[in-house]
């Protein structure tokens, strides 16, 4: 779908590293260039035409984000990416509201950015981190979560879609359960918001984090969405210009309202505008169309992989465009170097999910992560390359 919108795809590349970052459509880069070439200016300070134009575009992106994930615009905070968003939740809100012994439920398929901040908070204030067991197919179910919940459970923090297994968690049921049991529900949407409909309100999310660059937008911009009453109680991690109402010699000061309270300093203006354009672009394609296309791609990929004898697949059942595998007796990095020879871009490693090894009993995998601009012919090229993989060392050495 829409391959012609992506200049990089004209370079004879099969791009299967969308879990890491996605390609950028021309319209997004054009929109950012328009800002740089035609109306560069800072926000909220100028009375000249360029600044007014920038303000309108910049401010409107909050509405675009809010419509996209069904949230309130004044609860959408611009961040540098999902990592920053998750850190803001942990150190801006949780640090202030949790106490020693409070249980935070995580699981071992999570990305580093949804584990390390919590480990740090454990060091700082003594929260109790517990890991919900995964099923045999490495998925996470509400039943398993329920078995871990006690009176001490205060937070459930998870990825909507995990970045290696690609399983789609039932956030609606989990969110409802959290809501009914007064447990805070923190969702890492980095791998879901770009690929499917996500509904912040209907899923009873308390916080939702995602990154622009994984959804056709620029790097350096992400979003944190929170429930209004929680954001009102959250501390900013950064202080400076743009976020204060006043400060005086006697050290009195007042901060602005949410969301700008959390956006000290000059924000990534071009990136915000680029993200707005990316969301507009994705919305025109349709998130349901994107999700269905990825599921069809994965079905076709699995069917074709039946032809490859020496392959181990770790996540056949997950309903997303992510597939993790290894070639028998070939280290993941050697496989990815081999595929690069055929201009096929995949990712090898632990994909920042360093605890997943405890579950799948292998540290490193090759990950194919697909997006709407991938098609069956991309998969055919991958299969052709893998079929020749007896020659892998002839190519990589």
């Amino acid at each position: 779908m829409n391959r012609e919108d992506f200049p990089m795809l004209s370079n004879d590349i099969i791009y299967f590293d969308n879990g890491a970052t996605t390609l950028k459509p021309k319209c997004v880069v054009d929109k950012m260039n328009q800002y740089y070439f035609n109306h560069t200016s800072n926000i909220h300070r100028g009375d000249y035409d360029a600044a007014i134009q920038t303000n309108i575009l910049y401010d409107n992106v909050r509405n675009i984000i809010a419509d996209f994930v069904h949230a309130d615009a004044d609860c959408c905070i611009y961040t540098s990416g999902a990592t920053m968003s998750l850190n803001m939740v942990v150190f801006g809100y949780m640090k202030k509201h949790l106490k020693a012994g409070d249980v935070v439920l995580l699981n071992k398929a999570e990305h580093a950015s949804n584990i390390l901040p919590w480990i740090r908070l454990q060091e700082e204030i003594g929260i109790d981190i517990q890991y919900v067991p995964l099923n045999d197919d490495y998925s996470l179910t509400l039943d398993n979560i329920k078995k871990c919940v006690t009176d001490r459970t205060k937070v459930i923090s998870l990825a909507h879609v995990t970045n290696v297994i690609g399983d789609v968690r039932d956030v609606q049921s989990i969110g409802k359960f959290c809501h009914e049991n007064h447990i805070l529900f923190n969702v890492d949407g980095a791998q879901s918001v770009p690929h499917m409909m996500v509904d912040f309100k209907e899923s009873y999310m308390d916080f939702l984090s995602f990154s622009g660059h994984k959804m056709c937008g620029p790097t350096g911009i992400g979003v944190l969405i929170g429930r209004k009453e929680l954001l009102e109680e959250m501390d900013p991690l950064f202080y400076g210009g743009g976020m204060n109402s006043f400060f005086e010699e006697d050290s009195s000061y007042e901060l602005k309202d949410i969301p700008v309270r959390f956006e000290a300093g000059t924000p990534p203006i071009a990136e915000v505008i680029g993200l707005g354009e990316a969301i507009r672009y994705l919305t025109n394609i349709g998130m349901e169309n994107i999700h269905q296309h990825e599921i069809e791609l994965k079905k076709y990929l699995l069917k074709r992989l039946d032809e490859i004898p020496n392959i181990i697949i770790y996540n056949k059942d997950s309903k997303s465009g992510i597939l993790a595998f290894n070639l028998d007796n070939v280290f993941a990095q050697d496989s990815s170097v081999y595929l690069n020879h055929y201009h096929i871009a995949v990712r090898a490693g632990n994909h920042c999910a360093k605890m997943l090894k405890d579950e799948i009993h292998i540290k490193n995998t090759v990950r194919v992560s697909m997006y709407f601009y991938n098609d069956f012919s991309d998969i055919d090229r991958l299969i052709d390359a893998l079929r020749n993989s007896e020659d892998v060392f002839k190519i990589v050495l």
Partner: protein, 143 residues
């Protein structure tokens, strides 16, 4: 170097690496290379007696280049005086980083003399170098 010979040497050392597998002996010093790369994860142990490298062993998960380079480098280093070992490591590092080096001292390590054509693999080739330099540094500081 002939490509087939190069491939054969690397593959031999990858598939049957020299001194792979650690031993539990507290006269050895140990380092891990996990922080050097996101994917290769090798442990190295080394024993020095009277200024001579008596033994080095390694273990872990890594690609063909890291594993084979560890194997070849260890085989060369065992029995060397520390100063000579440092000289070898310096020449090896220079070769990988496309600087001046003495190919005569490197022997089989010359199989990596074109690795700089694949910049993403330079770190793989340098992984054992970094580990052993670290071990030498730690042992010297410990003296």
């Amino acid at each position: 170097m002939d490509d087939n010979l190069r491939r054969e040497i690397i593959l031999d050392n990858y598939q049957e690496p020299f001194h792979k597998g650690l031993i539990d002996d507290n006269s050895y010093c140990k380092v891990n290379t996990n922080s050097e790369s996101c994917i290769d994860n090798l442990d190295f142990i080394m024993k020095i007696s009277n200024g001579i490298i008596e033994d080095i062993r390694f273990d872990g998960e890594a690609c063909a280049i890291s594993t084979s380079a560890s194997s070849i480098l260890i085989r060369k280093l065992i029995g060397m005086r520390i100063d000579d070992a440092k000289d070898l490591l310096k020449n090896y590092k220079n070769m990988i980083n496309e600087k001046d080096y003495d190919e005569d001292v490197l022997g089989e390590l010359n199989v990596y003399n074109e690795i700089s054509k694949q910049p993403n693999r330079k770190n793989c080739a340098l992984l054992p170098n970094v580990a052993i330099e670290k071990l030498l540094g730690e042992m010297e500081n410990g003296k």
